[in-house]
């Protein structure tokens, strides 16, 4: 055996090129080093009495990375050192990305819990003056569920069927055109979707007609492209083998789609639909325009009168500006997050029910 290229022997590495052994840092080295750097940096900062969490985290991260990479380069060689560098960077980015999420949850929990109780969840603002220490968000929860539910009922059939058409039937110019317009729809600002429905409602029912259905349709306009895109990806994941297996049994195409393709991708479709719901459930602007922002009483009827929803409730409470209003807004924000989490949990359950079982 002849080696045409021999890597330059690094420090700490055996001089013979054929020796496969390398030095390695002890298994617990990174964790211990991280703890040590954190402690030292904290000590130094305290000594200069300029301790701050951001500065501390930043300096610890930089110091740890520099030390671990240098140590690894000396003991383990270049490839391992690069591995350690990238590992540190990836973990750093992960923490950076988690920071806003944790911060948002923490703030909402901290501020929202003050007023988040069964009473808040079970009464509306009917007959409650904005500054009174009473009232709740029940009417907004009802509105959010009704409007989002109807938007889902409208957009899921349209979206999934569009995706089926794109994946199973469409070809050439028609396919490109539809995909282009779906992309354009994805880019519509939500307020434009709201204005579109306002204009439509003025034409159909005259000026001043606001109701839940208008809000649902404006949300559906926003939801359809998201559903199409995610469903399309999921349907493409279904192996062509399965379609061919079905055709080879003499099964017509439409039955192959309804009985084989859709069930196989059901779990993915559910997840995609949930993401689309999460995308629109927090929409505020189109709902202010279409479903109104001054409803205070419980209204289950999508076709009659204004309808409050959680995001609009938050918005209008913040606009009022009193201490009690801020508390209501935070509690409503907490409610909205919990509703979304509950929906995701349900979707996971449903997805697991449909998912292909291995054994």
């Amino acid at each position: 055996m002849s080696l045409t290229t021999t890597p330059p022997p690094g420090p700490g590495m055996s001089a013979t090129a054929n020796d496969l052994r390398r030095g390695s840092l002890p298994h617990h080295f990174p964790a211990l080093l991280l703890a040590a750097t954190a402690a030292v940096v904290a000590g130094v900062l305290l000594a200069f009495s300029s301790f701050g969490f951001v500065l501390w985290g930043l300096l610890t991260a930089v110091a740890y990375t520099v030390i671990v990479v240098t140590a690894s380069a000396r003991v383990e060689g270049g490839r391992k050192a690069r591995d350690r560098l990238v590992t540190s960077l990836v973990y750093g980015c992960f923490l950076l990305a988690m920071l806003p999420l944790v911060s948002v949850l923490w703030t909402v929990l901290g501020n929202g819990l003050a007023r988040f109780d069964p009473y808040f969840l079970s009464v509306s603002m009917n007959g409650v003056l904005p500054s009174m220490d009473a009232g709740g968000a029940y009417h907004a929860i009802v509105g959010t569920l009704a409007i989002t539910g109807m938007a889902t009922l409208i957009s899921v059939p349209i979206g999934v069927m569009t995706a089926v058409y794109l994946v199973e039937y469409a070809e050439g110019r028609m396919k490109r055109t539809i995909m282009f317009f779906v992309d354009v729809m994805t880019g519509i600002p939500s307020i434009v979707a709201g204005l579109f429905v306002v204009a439509l409602w003025i034409i159909l029912f005259g000026p001043g007609a606001t109701n839940g259905a208008a809000g649902a349709i404006s949300l559906a306009v926003l939801m359809i492209p998201v559903v199409v895109r995610s469903s399309e990806e999921m349907l493409r994941l279904v192996p062509q083998d399965l379609r061919e297996a079905s055709y080879a049994l003499g099964v017509p195409k439409w039955r192959t789609i309804t009985k084989v393709v859709l069930p196989t991708s059901a779990a993915g479709l559910t997840t995609g639909i949930m993401l689309a719901i999460a995308r629109v459930i927090g929409e505020t602007a189109p709902l202010i325009l279409t479903a109104g922002s001054s409803a205070v009483s419980i209204n289950w009827n999508l076709f009659d009168g204004q309808m409050m929803s959680l995001p609009v409730f938050i918005y209008s409470q913040v606009r009022m500006g009193g201490a009690v209003n801020y508390e209501r807004a935070w509690a409503a924000a907490l409610t909205l997050i919990l509703v979304v989490m509950l929906l995701f949990f349900l979707a996971r359950m449903i997805g697991r029910l449909f998912a292909p079982k291995a054994r």
Binding site: R243, A248, V251, P356
Partner: protein, 259 residues
């Protein structure tokens, strides 16, 4: 029941590219016919034209005549869906439906076609098909478990059971053993021997020993030159093909002196 296939002057195209040129052959009922030849010589493509499966691939079309007994498969009023329920197919990669149990996989052909069946009829069909595929003893206690939990060889036999459950007259097999170990391959080959009592079987294989073991007649396909369409070089009794082929080209391929 088993039917004869008569192919005459068949050309297959993918868009503008001619993949198979001017194939004519007769496939006898109740026998096994093997297609051999190097990769990309069009034998799988040709196989798929026998039940119009090639039409699933965008841009693929075939010209010529394929007679199933007396019926022209490419006749103007022939529904490809009906052709496929008459000419079943088993694929290279076992592909049981992942959302269905073993039981449901076997009766998938009937269920997906919305044929009404009583519970006892369905049970009987499942047992008969699985017994026919030599799989019944291995799975009879777990019929409600997913088909994807079986081993590769069992999955392939499940696919054969699924294909025979719709009672076709012809069974096309596209390299059914290429992903299986020798024991599973033997099981499938034994099965092919039994199945030829009732079906016309066409099998594509890269394994010449397999062709010699299972088939009654063998057809050798080859490209005339790289980039040219594949064609049928020679077809005859398997014994004769492997001992005294008529063409030099066939002999070179069979003896491994291929270039």
């Amino acid at each position: 029941m088993a039917k004869r296939i008569d192919v005459s002057g068949l050309n297959v195209y993918y868009g503008d590219f001619k993949a198979v040129e001017d194939v004519s052959m007769t496939i006898e009922p109740r026998s096994v016919t093997a297609f051999i030849g190097s990769s990309g010589c069009g034998k799988s493509t040709f196989l798929r034209t026998l039940n119009r499966m090639h039409e699933v691939t965008p841009g693929a079309r075939a010209e010529g005549k394929v007679l199933l007994d007396d019926l022209d498969v490419y006749g103007p009023d022939v529904d490809p869906v009906m052709v496929r329920s008459e000419v079943g197919m088993v694929f290279q990669k076992a592909n049981p439906f992942p959302t269905m149990s073993i039981y449901d996989n076997v009766i998938a052909g009937a269920r997906l076609n919305n044929r009404r069946m009583s519970r006892s009829e369905a049970d009987e069909l499942v047992e008969r098909s699985l017994r026919g595929a030599n799989l019944w003893e291995e799975v009879k206690d777990r019929l409600n478990k997913p088909g994807s939990g079986l081993s590769g060889g069992q999955q392939q036999r499940l696919c054969i059971a699924r294909a025979t459950a719709v009672k076709p007259s012809v069974l096309l097999m596209d390299e059914p053993c290429s992903a299986l170990d020798p024991i599973s391959t033997l099981a499938i080959e034994d099965l092919i021997h039994q199945l030829k009592e009732d079906y016309t079987i066409v099998i594509v294989t890269h394994n010449m020993q397999q062709a010699a073991r299972v088939s009654d007649r063998t057809a050798f396909f080859n490209l005339s030159a790289p980039g040219k369409p594949g064609r049928l070089v020679e077809m005859g009794e398997t014994n004769q093909m492997f001992t005294r082929p008529e063409k030099k080209e066939t002999e070179n391929y069979i003896t491994g002196r291929f270039g």
